[in-house]
């Protein structure tokens, strides 16, 4: 059993990258590009923008990036073509594809072409941010036995949760939900992310929002209500965030 000073981070599973990472965003839609730039810069990344396929392609070849965010529908040079050429030239930079086409063939195509991940437009920024974190974290296999926030601790091996030294009994779903929130602590998670990652629901049209809200409510009653500090916060219109301070 862990016995440390109250409020100490046990093991932070989220990988907080302090060194500035270079991210290239190839996106012709100005507003989307600017929003991505601002959002990712707020997470302390260096963000470069390319508005055309040609420009983006030459910059990926010429400069060193840690991640490329690539829109598939580009004027001049199509995104799929850029990706194919990059992979043929053995450029291994991770690529996250953005696409407005969510037909299954396109998804498979994107991954077959060597995309590391894809997101269908319109997407929620918190989700993109989570995907970026996941891609940048890739390869690191730190599997901590325990994760936690403030006085909340979760033992992944024993699947038990303790807050302020008091055991909190959770159902399997509630445990998975809390684990996901803990792993993304400090970052907003959307209902869609929860539906896909906790409920394993791939189709967007499946109505799980109400189900998720009910589970969050129950989790709050167990994890937050008996204690002074609230950890699970609702970000109106976006989703939920686990943090010591309200957003």
């Amino acid at each position: 059993m862990f016995s440390g000073p109250r409020g100490r981070h046990v093991v932070s599973c989220t990988w907080e990258e302090r060194a500035a990472l270079n991210i290239l965003v190839i996106e012709d839609e100005k507003k989307v590009a600017q929003a991505l730039k601002k959002g990712l810069e707020a997470e302390e990344h260096n963000v470069h923008l390319s508005m055309t396929g040609e420009d983006g392609f030459f910059r990926v070849c010429a400069e060193k990036f840690d991640l490329v965010i690539l829109d598939l529908m580009l004027p001049g040079r199509d995104g799929t073509e850029i990706l194919r050429t990059l992979r043929q030239r053995d450029v291994g930079t991770p690529v996250l594809v953005l696409t407005a086409r969510d037909a299954l063939e396109d998804k498979i195509l994107g991954l077959d072409l060597g995309a590391d991940d894809y997101m269908v437009k319109p997407f929620a920024f918190p989700e993109l941010s989570a995907r970026v974190r996941a891609l940048l974290r890739r390869g690191r296999t730190d599997q901590p036995a325990k994760i936690g926030l403030a006085d909340l601790e979760m033992d992944l091996g024993r699947r038990s949760v303790v807050r302020a030294r008091r055991a909190i009994p959770l159902t399997a779903k509630e445990f998975d939900l809390l684990e996901y929130l803990l792993r993304n602590q400090g970052h907003v998670v959307t209902r869609q992310m929860l539906a896909r990652d906790v409920w394993k629901e791939m189709l967007r049209a499946t109505p799980l929002d109400n189900v998720i809200d009910v589970h969050i409510g129950r989790l709050r009653r167990k994890v937050d209500d008996p204690f002074a500090t609230r950890l699970i916060h609702t970000v109106r219109g976006v989703g939920f965030i686990l943090s010591e301070t309200p957003p």
Partner: protein, 450 residues
């Protein structure tokens, strides 16, 4: 290259006229041959009578041939024999007919004279060792046949022309309903789908054709109406969140608010945006039906396990309303389906049941196989669907209670999506009212291929 007139009427008339011409020509040919044969036979018997008359005269008065020849100067004959110089009548001589030697066959034969005239010839022994040859001119017979031919050749085009005219008039009369139908069909557009083609006689071919067309028009009209309703509903559903976003944003810009209040306004806008986004997702799922059907990957899955998972997912919602959600069926039931879409269907039906069953009610989910089908049934003890609405509950945006629009986060597309999702899996969805109240939704799926 084939000649093919555009008009059915012209084609019919041409065919009819050609067949008629063939028949008439064949008939005339037969008549002509028969008449000619009988005329020739008449000529032959004439020659035979002549032969008999002359040979009798020769037999009675063998020494007065020259005298006799003068008497019968209009007749063409020739007498020859051993030691008797050939004697030819003036008519025979004038024609310059070739001599016929004894032994040659000389009955029913035609000889051509030096001047081109044709003669029917009869020759034979006339007693006293004489050979008699009688020639009868064919000219009168040939003239009659020529006249017959001329009459026919002149009458044929006129007759055929009349027949064609009559045929064309008749064809035009028969085909008139088609022209009327075409003219009416020409006028029918999306705006006037309620009009129908005229039917003169429902039992004939054209009448049946018009009936079939009218039925098609009825179906078209119905789907156009559905589309119109859908467009109206969709624009309403899409405009509502847009209006909220616009007005909240505009009002917030005019006000001088603190950060928290602005956040709240933005959050409110994002909520509506999510609603809009979800709506667009659902609509795209429905409208891309064909493309998605190709993307559906059907594998063998256990319907009981799938139902159990959907029930577990939806249980919290039922619990919040104090409803009893149960699943019956234990043995695995294999079904050939795409797990994602089938789950989508069941979750939507369950979501609907939780929404409409009363607080404290019951929802039973049953899975069973039989008759080559797998049935997943969702039964609730809610108010059920009023009979007048049953036919339309699977339509997009259709709500039994129109005032519920937008309430409880529903898009009004749940059952439409369920229907679509079952159908891409080769199944169907049915609604039945339960005895004693409540709804029963039945997902019927083809059983796995063995």
């Amino acid at each position: 290259m084939r000649f093919r007139p555009a008009s059915v009427r012209v084609r019919l008339t041409l065919w009819y006229t050609m067949v008629l011409a063939g028949i008439v020509v064949a008939l005339f040919g037969a008549v002509y041959l028969f008449v000619r044969a009988s005329l020739v036979r008449q000529l032959d018997s004439e020659a035979g009578a002549e032969f008999l008359a002359i040979s009798q005269a020769v037999a009675e008065e063998p020494n007065e041939i020259a005298e006799m020849a003068t008497e019968m100067s209009g007749r063409a004959f020739r007498l020859a024999g051993e030691g008797v110089g050939p004697y030819e009548s003036p008519a025979f001589k004038a024609a310059g007919l070739p001599a016929i030697e004894p032994g040659e066959p000389a009955a029913g034969q035609t000889l051509t004279a030096a001047d081109g005239r044709r003669f029917r010839v009869r020759s034979g022994p006339a007693g006293h060792g004489l050979l008699l040859t009688v020639a009868v001119p064919e000219e009168p017979v040939r003239g009659a046949l020529r006249t017959l031919l001329v009459i026919f050749v002149l009458a044929l085009p006129a007759g055929l022309g009349l027949a064609a005219l009559g045929g064309s008039l008749m064809a035009g009369r028969l085909l008139r309903p088609v022209a009327v139908m075409a003219a009416r069909a020409e006028e029918i557009s999306a705006e006037s789908l309620s009009s129908r083609l005229p039917i003169e006689d429902p039992s004939d071919e054209f009448g049946r054709l018009a009936t079939v067309f009218n039925r098609m028009l009825a179906r078209l009209e119905e789907s156009f109406d559905r589309l119109r309703r859908f467009t109206a509903d969709a624009s309403h559903e899409l405009r509502t969140p847009l209006t909220v976003i616009q007005s909240v944003g505009e009002v917030a810009l005019q006000e001088d608010l603190d950060t928290a209040a602005y956040r709240d306004r933005i959050g409110s806008m994002l909520e509506e945006l999510n609603r809009l986004s979800r709506l667009v997702d659902s609509l795209l799922t429905l409208t891309r039906a064909d493309a998605a059907a190709a993307a559906v990957r059907r594998t063998e899955i256990d319907a009981v396990r799938l139902a159990a998972r959907a029930v577990e997912d939806m249980r919290p919602l039922a619990e919040e309303k104090g409803q009893d959600l149960t699943l019956s069926g234990g043995e695995p039931v294999t079904v050939q389906a795409d797990e994602g879409t089938l789950r989508l269907a069941l979750v939507n039906v369950l979501d609907n049941a939780v929404k409409y069953a009363p607080a404290g009610g019951t929802i039973d989910v049953g899975v069973r196989a039989g008759n080559g089908q797998v049935l997943i049934e969702v039964a609730d003890n809610g108010p059920g669907v009023p009979a007048a609405h049953v036919g339309r509950i699977f339509e997009r945006f259709y709500r039994v209670d129109q005032s519920r629009s937008g309430e409880s986060g529903g898009t009004g597309l749940g059952l439409a999506i369920a229907k679509w999702a079952v159908e891409v899996n080769g199944g169907r969805i049915e609604y039945a009212a339960r005895d004693g109240g409540g709804s029963l939704f039945r997902l019927v799926l083809p059983v796995a291929r063995v």
